[in-house]
């Protein structure tokens, strides 16, 4: 069909065709700009301009009731000596690292689900996926109850074995881990869906050949599934780390202010929210946001650099 169109076009007289083609071009240019105009304006106003505005704010000091004054690099300098920021940074990294456990769990679950002839795939998939689409605020409230030190089911269960569990979300030594477990719980389903999709593109004949070679299921998993799945694993990890570095909802609802564990569990974005919208210290908050951007760039950059070593593209 394309060939036909080409023939039709070249059959026309050169002059006329060029004219028509340039008219076509002008038309496309006009429509092109017209069609992207809403997005250009919308994203320009709500995303692109704000980046520069925030950058500017990160060099200013805010007054309590509006107004800001140029403050040079003070905000950035304060950032690296502020124990609150350093705490938040440490918490965020630990949280991101822990929540990445949902990747291996997701792989295992999807590998089990991917067995040919297994019944009930749809049912399992539904169960694992429900946490993904449940309102995070509701998830957090539910788990806060589960974790309650005095009457929460977790501690009541531990009590059966004579273990006296801690107050999970109020104890500085456990709060961050308790929240990370919820993060893992609620993202396993998402990862599973992506891994299942990835696994279904792996050609069946590879497994059949391995079967004939006498390779067991476990061996097949390591020699075929994992390498073939590595691009998906890479994608899931990159997106997962970026999301985890921006953790906010669970901390806000499960920990919240006036919690003795806040210092040991607040994340960068929680601190950003607190500075920008509770303490009205927008200048400092802007600097925190750029710190976050820096961290995301470093982590994503590292992953892209490392991928050469383990991701197999065909």
């Amino acid at each position: 069909m394309a060939v036909l169109a080409e023939k039709v076009r070249s059959a026309e007289r050169p002059g006329k065709s060029r004219r028509r083609r340039s008219a076509r071009k002008r038309l496309e240019a006009r429509w092109g700009w017209l069609l992207i105009a809403p997005s250009v304006i919308g994203l320009g106003v709500f995303s692109i301009w704000p980046i520069f505005r925030t950058l500017y704010y990160s060099f200013t000091l805010w007054g309590a009731f509006g107004g800001h004054t140029w403050n040079g690099l003070t905000n950035y300098r304060t950032l690296f000596s502020d124990s609150e920021v350093l705490h938040a940074l440490r918490n965020t990294l630990i949280f991101a690292l822990l929540s990445m456990l949902s990747v291996p769990i997701g792989i295992v679950v999807s590998a089990l689900l991917n067995r040919p002839g297994l019944r009930g795939l749809g049912v399992y998939r539904t169960f694992y996926f429900i946490p993904v689409i449940t309102l995070p605020a509701a998830v957090a409230l539910m788990w806060k109850f589960v974790y309650n030190g005095d009457y929460g089911p977790v501690n009541q269960f531990l009590k059966l074995f004579g273990v006296h569990g801690p107050h999970w979300t109020s104890d500085p030594s456990t709060a961050l881990y308790a929240v990370a477990i919820v993060a893992i719980w609620s993202s396993v389903g998402y990862n599973m869906v992506l891994f299942l999709a990835g696994m279904q593109t792996i050609p069946r004949h590879l497994y059949e050949a391995a079967e004939i070679d006498g390779a067991g299921k476990i061996r097949q998993f390591f020699t075929i599934t994992l390498p073939m799945l590595s691009p998906t694993i890479f994608f899931v990890t990159v997106i997962g780390v970026i999301n985890a570095l921006q953790a906010f909802d669970l901390i806000y609802v499960m920990i919240g202010k006036n919690n003795p564990a806040l210092n040991d569990s607040e994340t960068i974005v929680y601190l950003f929210y607190d500075k920008a919208f509770v303490q009205s210290n927008g200048g400092y908050a802007a600097a925190i946001a750029f710190l976050l951007l820096g961290i995301i760039i470093v982590f994503t950059g590292c992953q892209f650099w490392l991928q050469k070593k383990w991701v197999h593209y065909e």
């Binding site: 309590a64 009731f65 509006g66 309650n148 030190g149 005095d150 929460g152 801690p166 107050h167 979300t169 109020s170 104890d171 500085p172 006036n258 919690n259 003795p260 564990a261 806040l262 210092n263 919208f277 509770v278 303490q279 009205s280």
Partner: protein, 452 residues
């Protein structure tokens, strides 16, 4: 409502248009009417806003004022006050804007910045100086004088708290104090006599030890400044902030000793639930269900305990145990006027009514808070006869005003967050107190100086 008051219009006009303090103070001090007129003229000519309020030009059409507040349990009483006010002032309508405490101050700060704060709103002591020093509020000294309002009818701790420089900025709305709530049933079971006004810290501790049994703890040593250490520190002759508002007192030996008294109840004597436990379950809830025998609680909590059948039946309240001296902290709200309101005259009329005896009586009957007006508090005491609420009112004899500076929230929040380390026993109380004092002194040093 005092209806025989002279019109306040002249005063309000000056106060309203004079954003610059010198002028308003001069106006207040000016004795000769001629001088006052001249000042008023100077002010209105320099004012950019068109709403001048000399007594001749009355606002004619109906006016709607916005009244900002945060506590919806007090809404019924407020609505009742508003209904009476609107009946007496048919040309003024009041619209209430309730914002939960958590977002109230963020929202107000943004609104004040953008010039759109409510015309009249609730103020609390912790935020007052920040708003007064940034000239967000309208000074009321002049209109109070013109309306011949007797300020001695209000609790002095609150009136003093809402004074900034030479001006007063609020008419006191309510007042509170802290006392010792206790569980009669648990006391009887432990064979203990109920707390008396002569109780000292050691009496409290001894009782707490005997009351701690099984899953019941003797007392809640809460990490809550107003309910605990703002009382214990001055009781031990320490202070939170020095009189000139420049220095933290958290690192004084007397203050550390008071803090230690609280943290020891958790970590040494084990007569209080841990901080982690009190975070998971609100101590108020624990006390209300008999899991704690004693509880440092505010006068405002009587309405919550009244609503819990168990507490109403088994609990009562006694004076806060004394240390070296008798002390309790009192906080209280005030009704303030936004400096940039379009209707200063109407706003003042409303605030005047909110500060009136009638409004105080309505609040007292509601039972949620103790009105700041003397002679109306009896009705609050009677609102829940099951509890000895007179205790709270009697404590006003030895109360002191909430410790504040210009930027109170900064060091106050830091203190609560950091004291958690002492409460959980992670670090020694003295070390944490020193840390907090250092941080607080740093914050205080950054504050602008106070007016003379």
């Amino acid at each position: 409502m005092q209806s025989d008051e002279s019109p306040v219009l002249n005063g309000a006009a000056e106060v309203k248009v004079s954003d610059k303090k010198q002028i308003s103070r001069r106006a207040v001090l000016a004795a000769a009417p001629a001088a006052m007129l001249m000042t008023a003229a100077a002010c209105s000519s320099s004012s950019s806003s068109g709403t001048s309020i000399d007594s001749e030009k009355k606002q004619t059409g109906p006016v709607t004022l916005t009244y900002g507040l945060w506590d919806d349990t007090q809404l019924p009483a407020m609505k009742k006050i508003i209904t009476e006010f609107e009946k007496a002032n048919p040309k003024i309508h009041i619209r209430t804007a309730v914002t939960p405490w958590d977002s109230y101050w963020t929202k107000l700060q943004t609104a004040a910045t953008g010039g759109s704060a409510p015309d009249v709103f609730w103020m609390t002591l912790a935020y007052f100086q920040l708003y007064a020093s940034n000239k967000i509020l309208m000074p009321l000294t002049k209109p109070i004088k013109d309306a011949k309002i007797d300020m001695s009818q209000y609790e002095p701790a609150i009136t003093k708290g809402y004074t900034w420089g030479k001006d007063i900025y609020a008419l006191p709305k309510d007042i509170d104090s802290i006392a010792l709530w206790y569980n009669k049933k648990l006391f009887a079971e432990a064979g203990l006599r109920t707390p008396t006004s002569s109780w000292s810290w050691s009496d409290l501790l001894n009782a707490a030890k005997r009351l701690t049994k099984g899953n019941v703890k003797g007392i809640a040593a809460q990490l809550s400044d107003q309910q605990t250490y703002y009382n214990m520190i001055p009781q031990n002759k320490g202070y939170v902030i020095s009189g000139d508002g420049k220095k933290s007192g958290y690192d004084l030996p007397a203050s550390v000793e008071a803090l230690q008294f609280l943290t020891d109840m958790i970590n040494k004597h084990h007569v209080s639930p841990t901080l982690q436990q009190m975070t998971d379950t609100d101590p108020q809830q624990m006390f209300g269900s008999g899991k704690i025998a004693m509880y440092y609680g505010g006068s405002w909590e009587s309405i919550a305990f009244k609503a819990i059948p168990y507490a109403l039946k088994n609990c009562d309240v006694a004076p806060i145990p004394q240390g070296k001296v008798r002390k309790t902290v009192s906080n209280g709200l005030g009704n303030v006027i936004y400096g940039k309101t379009k209707y200063p005259r109407e706003a003042w009329e409303f605030v005047k009514f909110l500060g009136s005896r009638r409004a105080a009586e309505i609040q007292a009957e509601g039972g949620a808070v103790i009105p700041a007006t003397h002679g109306t508090q009896e009705a609050w005491v009677k609102s829940t006869p099951q509890f000895h609420l007179q205790t709270f009112v009697d404590e006003f004899q030895y109360n002191y005003g909430f410790p504040i500076s210009i930027n109170t929230p900064v060091w106050r929040d830091y203190a609560t967050k950091t004291f958690a380390d002492a409460w959980t026993g992670k670090r020694p109380t003295a070390a944490v107190a020193k840390d907090v004092a250092k941080q607080m002194n740093g914050a205080l040093a950054k504050e602008p100086s106070r007016p003379a």
